[in-house]
């Protein structure tokens, strides 16, 4: 039985359809990544699955509980980390965790052991008595992970888990998430607009654009759809037709004085291709990224630097109010 299954999940804000007839099914132990630009509907989906937002129509089950009919049961069985920091700055790391252990109704003797366990898992034990306002962004995120695990949820929702972290903090965070899945055998549902993040963490990715899943598959399979890696050649004269005939070449396009060749298995075939081409001025090889996949299915790029995009924020906020 799938851990998360959505059945025509839809959310309208006035005339805007933020999430449009979502149908996905996620099995136990998966890391499912929802990849898309800001405003694509990712957070709205998480909020509905976490019972913070009523769907306009359709429904979903999480751990077998219906989000509309059994919201309390859903909340007992999930952990969630929001986009914005949600730990209390004026409390210590330990106090933050302890209060949540109490809220989840853990018995007294378990509050301490579980809190200690959770803090150890995210390597915050030696900073547990410091006020959270003295923590770095990465530490706060780790504390929130520890907090969300205190009641041993079966599913963990992560909404843009590395938003605002520096590259090192981001990589650390990825390691923690992978560790959780391995050690606690959790199912993870994460949203991100970082291609690399989805690629590293997720075993299946749903590409979402304007509230609809454009395509859903493993990162490898998604990249295979694009047809392989990109080799850009600069050369005086190229015999385009002959290149096309090579068995591993899937596509050739010419732009100005550059020739873009898409080939399968670049590491094995590049040598042969270059020999076949003869004299060239320069060559550039780029592996296919999910951005290429996104471009292919939506006709647009994901804006990597969209983090503090004021326009998106305003649109998002005004739709939330509606």
């Amino acid at each position: 039985m799938p851990v998360i299954e959505t059945c025509g999940l839809t959310k309208n804000y006035g005339k805007i359809t933020a999430v449009d007839d979502l149908r996905i099914s996620i099995e136990e132990g998966e890391i499912f990544g929802l990849l898309g630009p800001n405003g694509a509907g990712k957070t709205t989906i998480i909020k509905m699955l976490a019972t913070l937002l009523e769907p306009t129509s359709g429904t979903a089950t999480v751990n077998g509980f219906d989000i509309k009919k059994q919201p309390a049961r859903v909340r007992e069985s999930i952990g969630i980390i929001f986009q914005e920091p949600s730990s209390d700055e004026l409390l210590t790391g330990y106090e933050n965790i302890k209060l949540y252990a109490m809220i989840y109704g853990l018995p007294k003797n378990q509050i301490q052991t579980r809190s200690a366990e959770a803090l150890k898992l995210v390597e915050l034990t030696d900073r547990k008595d410091d006020l959270v306002k003295h923590y770095s962004g990465g530490m706060r995120r780790r504390l929130e992970i520890a907090r969300s695990l205190i009641h041993r949820p079966k599913v963990l929702f992560l909404d843009e888990p590395t938003l605002g972290l520096d590259p090192r903090g981001r990589e650390n965070m990825w390691n923690y998430i992978l560790k959780l899945v391995k050690e606690l055998k959790m199912t993870v549902f994460l949203t991100t607009h970082y291609m690399e993040e989805a690629d590293t963490l997720a075993n299946r990715i749903g590409i979402i654009d304007r509230g609809k899943i454009a395509i859903l598959d493993s990162p490898k399979a998604l990249k295979r759809i694009v047809g392989g890696d990109l080799v850009t050649i600069k050369a005086k004269a190229l015999k385009i037709e002959e290149i096309r005939k090579l068995s591993y070449v899937t596509d050739v396009t010419q732009e100005n004085n550059e020739t873009k060749i898409i080939i399968e298995n670049v590491s094995e075939n590049l040598q042969h291709l270059l020999t076949a081409l003869g004299k060239i001025d320069s060559v550039q090889v780029r592996n296919t990224t999910l951005n290429d996949v996104f471009l292919r299915f939506t006709g647009r790029q994901i804006q990597e630097e969209g983090e503090s995009n004021w326009f998106d924020k305003i649109v998002q906020e005004s739709t939330e109010k509606a």
Binding site: I80, E84, Y100, M102, K321
Partner: protein, 248 residues
């Protein structure tokens, strides 16, 4: 109802309260300024029915202390909602009435602490306490603060952004305070002022406190108790409804 959860919400408020020292300081220094400047200053020439003016307004200033702190404490919720702090609580199995109850208990506790400090200052201006008046004063503070905290929480749950925060002082706190009989007696008022003051539940809070602190009373005791208890009950009832329909 999950008692350990309610306790956790209350405990959070306590822990943060004692770490925000400026909040406590300004909450009690402000009323003391009022008493020493406005009260003593006007008291130099004014007395009301034989009572010093600073003593006369002491119950009103006591009420002002927890009026400000309860309303702002409650309305502060809009910040918790702005950042994802409250969302993290709302996504736990703890139901919303328990969260509300924990918050109200937090506001009542702060009011009691601040009231205790102001009451201690009352000795300086020769307020007489008795063994029976002190518990009755504290019970009055608890009931009144529960109602006012609930009003603050209702405001905080309805506001969408903290930008309107200053308006609360202008449109909620000052009218409630000035029309409560905190600073002047209710006899001989022009009729529009009478109407406004006797429809303000805070008037009954001030009157109860004044009867306990300086022995002057305008309404009957039963009237005062009934109005205060109904005010607290209605505000909390509406507050729970507001919490239930609040958007996460």
């Amino acid at each position: 109802m999950n008692l350990s959860g309610v306790y956790a919400i209350w405990l959070r408020e306590m822990l943060t309260f004692f770490r925000e020292k400026p909040r406590i300081v300004s909450a009690v220094i402000n009323p003391i300024f009022w008493l020493l400047t406005f009260g003593v200053g006007l008291g130099a020439t004014v007395n009301i029915a034989g009572v010093n003016y600073e003593q006369y307004i002491f119950p009103g200033i006591l009420m002002q202390t927890f009026l400000f702190s309860s309303i702002f404490y409650g309305a502060y919720l809009v910040w918790d909602r702005r950042i994802d702090l409250l969302k993290a609580v709302l996504v736990t199995p703890l139901n919303r009435s328990s969260i509300f109850l924990g918050k109200v208990l937090g506001g009542v506790t702060f009011s009691l602490i601040e009231a205790a400090i102001i009451l201690a200052f009352g000795v300086v201006i020769n307020i007489n306490y008795t063994l029976t008046s002190i518990p009755l004063i504290l019970i009055t503070v608890i009931i009144a603060a529960a109602g006012l905290t609930a009003v603050g929480l209702i405001i905080g749950s309805l506001m969408t952004s903290p930008e309107g925060f200053q308006l609360i002082t202008t449109f909620v706190i000052f009218p409630l305070f000035f029309l409560s009989g905190a600073l002047f007696p209710l006899n001989n008022l022009p009729s529009y002022l009478t109407t406004l003051t006797i429809t303000n539940p805070l008037t009954y809070i001030v009157d109860s406190l004044r009867s306990l602190l300086v022995g002057m009373q305008y309404f009957g005791t039963l009237e005062n108790v009934l109005v205060m208890v109904s005010f607290a009950a209605v505000a909390n009832f509406i507050g729970i409804l507001a919490f239930r329909r609040m958007r996460a």
